[in-house]
């Protein structure tokens, strides 16, 4: 027994001393240390490291600020971890800055520990109009920019240019009507009538519908409270304003051509293998898609197809942002220095080159290096021009039960196609289902 106890004690002692080994951090006086939690891994991780090193060696050195970037797992894990801390009584472990993706907005926007980025910018006399309006509004809640847009992207149409040439199509489709026409020409069947090449593949989710519904008539909201950007949405608007019926009618017509594949996953793979000629995907997929396709065929990109000629709203900005948090250390102004640096024209250029996220600082676009880069990589130019031509008020959807709504859209649209329901009925059913999620959320809020 004695020996056993001794062994246990020894093991415990060993763990203590090992733990101490990990704690070799030293702190110099007068230097403010800012912690930044992020989820940038791989290429983006390296770019984030470079960004932090650049800051620490220049502005940081000058102003006695050192940034410590901490990788905290995937975007969702960063949120889990931050949540764990702000739900406990002591919030001193919160980082000064945290980078979260779009789905985290609902969890953080009303948090008492959140310091609105707009306030920090104002305190510094920083002119926020330097940041692209669409990106700024993408993270604006109740008229206030709560965080700094950082890893931003939009949606694009990718097409197989070689296949286009093969059937003599010279311009990519502009509207969904064009898309149906082009897709029909691109469809290929074998001797038995089985489709071996589809013109287009997609089953719309929130991601696509935000744009296809939102862009109609210049700008249409999907829910009240401006898609949730001015408060919690209580009902959807897409049925009463007719945008959903309009979209579904076009979609059904596209499906009727037999050239649309109802594909919900691995669209990149289907595109790269040549089985599907056109897909819509995020601009952040540009590099991936290019490397997947290799030299199999020539890839073309074009603006996201419009629902009809009146749908002039363009596309919205998606992606992540950097939030400032109050952890009691009063480091906000130092944290702001880093945010300002990270989103400066020069650093946003470097970030774009390394990751493919588009620059959020307006001056990046007029930099000669950037112009040269666009000339060498015209695909990025298409994405950026599309965004600049868009209505900045077209913004993503901030809704509770986002996960259920995502699948409600997808399964509702699939059902319409496979069970041959009318667009009116489908739109009505989606309205009822999604409104019920909102009602449930309201009830939970009141309890």
């Amino acid at each position: 027994m004695k020996r056993l106890i001794i062994h246990v004690v020894l093991v415990l002692l060993a763990t203590q001393s090992l733990a101490a080994l990990g704690q070799t951090e030293t702190q110099r006086d007068a230097v403010t240390t800012i912690t930044w939690w992020h989820s940038n891994s791989g290429l983006a991780g390296k770019a984030a490291e470079t960004l932090v090193d650049d800051f620490n060696n220049t502005v940081g050195k000058e102003k006695n600020i050192q940034v410590q970037a901490v990788y905290q797992g995937k975007a969702n894990d960063v949120l889990t971890k931050a949540k764990a801390i702000w739900q406990s009584s002591d919030t001193s472990d919160l980082p000064d800055l945290v980078q979260l993706d779009g789905s985290a907005v609902l969890d953080i926007r009303d948090n008492p520990n959140l310091i609105a980025m707009e306030d920090l910018a104002k305190a510094d006399g920083y002119d926020l109009s330097q940041i692209m309006e669409a990106a700024r509004l993408s993270i604006t809640y109740k008229q206030e920019m709560i965080a700094m847009p950082f890893n931003s992207s939009t949606i694009l149409l990718y097409y197989n240019k070689t296949a286009f040439d093969e059937v003599g199509i010279t311009t990519p489709p502009r509207t969904l009507d064009d898309l149906a026409e082009v897709a029909t020409k691109l469809k290929k069947t074998d001797d038995k009538g089985k489709v071996i090449r589809y013109g287009f593949a997609n089953v719309p989710t929130t991601y696509e519908l935000m744009v296809w519904l939102g862009q109609q008539n210049g700008l249409s909201y999907i829910t009240d409270f401006e898609n949730g950007h001015t408060g919690n949405p209580t009902k959807v608007l897409f049925h009463e304003n007719g945008t959903m019926v309009n979209f579904l009618t076009k979609w059904k017509a596209l499906y009727a051509t037999g050239s649309l594949e109802n594909l919900t996953s691995d669209l990149n793979g289907a595109f790269a293998s040549g089985r599907v000629v056109m897909i819509v995907a995020s601009t952040s997929n540009l590099t991936t898609i290019h490397s997947m396709v290799g030299d199999r065929f020539e890839v073309g990109v074009a603006p996201f197809p419009m629902v009809d000629e009146k749908a002039t709203g363009g596309v919205n900005v998606g992606g992540g942002a950097i939030y400032a948090l109050n952890n009691g250390s009063h480091n906000e102004s130092a944290a702001w220095e880093f945010v300002k640096f990270a989103t400066s024209a020069k650093q946003q250029y470097a970030w774009h080159i390394a990751t493919g996220y588009f620059p959020v600082h307006r001056d990046t676009y007029t930099m000669p290096e950037f112009q040269a880069h666009l000339e060498a990589n015209p695909h990025y130019g298409v994405a950026i021009k599309q965004l600049l031509d868009s209505n900045p008020k077209l913004q993503g959807l901030w809704v509770p039960s986002a996960y259920q709504i995502y699948y409600a859209f997808q399964s509702g649209i699939l059902k319409m196609l496979t069970e041959n329901k009318s667009p009116e009925q489908t739109s009505k059913e989606l309205e009822t289902e999604i409104n019920s999620y909102f009602a449930e959320f309201q009830r939970m809020q009141q309890e």
Partner: protein
């Protein structure tokens, strides 16, 4: 019947073996092998580049060391606690024993995710974040282990113990020289199982550590990839390195594992 069994067993083992085989194979892929259509099963020309990069692009050796330390320490302590508890529950009689046992077993019903935040708050107020103790402490009480060991110990007649005690043998000696050796199969199985679960844990070690020097390998693994990129090579190389020790342990110990499973299900 035998043929059917063999067929089913082959199908199941293929399902289990395939991902392991693929990750080993993919760890030797070149970048373009990942994007080839149709997908490749074997590398076009095997390269060690991914292994080199896995170590170069992250502190993989540090992460591995942290995982090995936490998994070994956690397993050792967990086994000591479980064996002692199971021994108490199967050989001693005292007031409230069964209630206590039911209470411990009942915690099996609590999903660990539900405890995550509460555990985190506790560890933080004990100032154990960024320590090995913090990482392993929540894994120390393993009700399944206690339950299984107790069931096994119960199959050993208490007359053995009584006879041993009469001969002047202490409880510790009885436990270490008789009971554990005859329960070797189940003890080894549980130890390996413990090691692999602690080694494979992701969310908890991520929550309780902030310093890169304290990160475990599962967290480190996610640092190597970027979802917008197809550069999976270094990740597969790291995965292969991770599964190797556990794979070796399983292969070396397959006999006792087999015995423990077969005897338990044979209702001994």
């Amino acid at each position: 019947m035998k043929k059917v069994t063999a067929f089913v067993a082959t199908v199941f083992s293929l399902i289990v073996v395939f991902p392991i085989f693929y990750s080993i194979s993919a760890s030797f892929f070149t970048y373009t092998d990942f994007t080839s259509i149709p997908a490749r099963l074997l590398p076009s020309r095997p390269t060690l580049e991914n292994y080199y990069r896995a170590f170069k692009e992250s502190n993989l050796e540090q992460f591995l060391a942290n995982s090995l330390v936490t998994a070994s320490l956690g397993t050792a302590l967990r086994m000591v606690i479980s064996i002692l508890a199971a021994y108490t529950f199967s050989f001693f009689t005292f007031k409230g024993r069964d209630v206590l046992f039911v209470l411990i077993v009942a915690t099996m019903l609590l999903p660990s995710d539900a405890l995550l935040l509460a555990n985190y708050s506790t560890i933080r107020s004990l100032r154990l974040t960024d320590t090995y103790v913090g990482i392993i402490s929540t894994t120390l009480l393993a009700p399944t282990h206690i339950f299984m060991l107790r069931q096994y110990f119960k199959t050993v007649s208490s007359e053995y113990r009584e006879a041993a005690l009469i001969e002047g043998c202490s409880d510790v000696r009885f436990l270490t020289t008789l009971l554990i050796p005859i329960s070797k199969a189940v003890v080894i199985t549980l130890a390996i199982h413990s090691f692999s679960t602690i080694f494979n844990d992701y969310l908890w070690p991520l929550l309780v550590t902030n310093k890169e020097s304290m990160r475990t390998v599962q967290v480190g693994l996610t640092m190597l990839g970027f979802s917008e990129n197809l550069d999976y090579g270094p990740q597969f190389a790291a995965i292969t390195l991770l599964i190797t020790p556990i794979l070796i342990a399983f292969i070396a110990m397959h006999k006792p594992i087999q015995t423990s499973v077969s005897t338990r299900f044979a209702g001994r």
